[in-house]
Symmetry: C2
């Protein structure tokens, strides 16, 4: 009547680490940071709890790796979407705005994940470093897009001005993303993206709505 020992397969180190990291993100997103325990992560990953310590010296280190993975994935997706379309600057800018204001970026679970990390970011210097790098990259992307669009429109763009507009554009997107992710029922399909395009147009003095139709 002895319970059988669980059968298993040996995986390569990188595979297992990625599996564990992804299971961690899934757990945090679903259960929240508080209820994300090593046992829960292990269940999600389909392994036993002990294995976690074989790859990560502590739960804290695993969470750190998960955050790094999350930031990197987000940045990569955003860049690939913009890079994969028409090189026309205005269209790119419009796509940048729209992508970040539609599913799957706008998503309650995604927001939860992001929020769960915030408090850790504040208290953990290693997490803070990862965050700052990601944020700066994101803002630089926005500035580059604006710069290119201005150039096409033959508009002068001083570095100061560019910085200010990058911050502002980023803020509208973040704010709308926040509202949309937090209160999904408050907006109809596509409304958020439309408001984003209009707002960005007003902020930058460009017509992104026309560009979006191309």
């Amino acid at each position: 009547m002895s319970a059988q020992r669980k059968p298993f397969r040996r995986e390569g180190e990188d595979t297992r680490r990625r599996e564990l990291v992804e299971a961690t993100l899934a757990c945090i997103a679903t259960l929240g940071m508080e209820r994300t325990t090593v046992r829960e992560i292990a269940i999600k990953a389909g392994v036993t709890a002990g294995l976690i310590r074989h790859y990560f010296v502590s739960k804290e280190e695993l969470v750190l790796a998960a955050y790094a993975h999350y930031v990197a994935t987000m940045a990569k997706q955003s860049r690939e979407t913009v890079a994969g379309i028409s090189p026309e600057p205005l269209t790119r800018l419009a796509t940048f705005v729209k992508t970040n204001l539609s599913a799957p970026v706008v998503d309650q679970t995604n927001l939860s994940l992001w929020a769960s990390f915030i408090e850790t970011v504040r208290t953990n210097p290693a997490m803070a470093a990862i965050h700052l790098e990601g944020y700066r990259g994101y803002r630089t992307d926005a500035e580059m897009l604006i710069k290119a669009a201005f150039k096409t429109a033959k508009r002068i763009s001083a570095p100061n001005e560019l910085r200010r507009l990058g911050i502002a554009l980023n803020a509208v997107i973040d704010g709308l993303w926040l509202e949309g992710s937090m209160s999904p029922g408050e907006f109809v399909e596509g409304e958020l993206a439309q408001i984003g395009l209009r707002s960005a147009s007003a902020l930058l003095g460009l017509d992104l709505q026309k560009a979006d139709l191309k």
Copy 2:
């Protein structure tokens, strides 16, 4: 050699409840939700852990009360600031923007507190209700201010338009608040508020910077 029993004072119910609620907020802000335990809260409040259960049937209920207190306090402060100044609509709008983009609203600890609640808001219906009420009130405030400013400028404002602008204005403020609170070192004193005024001006087609100087 027996340890002395801790001396204490009896407090009225509402006083104690408020003390416990405030201690809870302080704990969450400082330590994060995960490390906010009933014992830690009790220490912060200067009482022993057992007392908490005398006023709140569970830790969850205490956290809920703390969130309600937090939302109410924020809303009250915002309204009082705007109400306490010149009745000139443009100036009010400018103040609304500036207040929400300066200390003490823009603050890393404040952000932490807010973020800590997010995941709870998602999973707990009671928390979600409190949140939605607060958010709608905030947006309504913004819409009213915009409407008044438009009226002064003799501009027509359709309900749809008003809703859209309210959401957008709210988003810029939220986004800038987020960026400023998360990466305090990235902005110089007053920069955030300036960007906020400029952005709001562009969004609404009003000159809030001039209005701010009055």
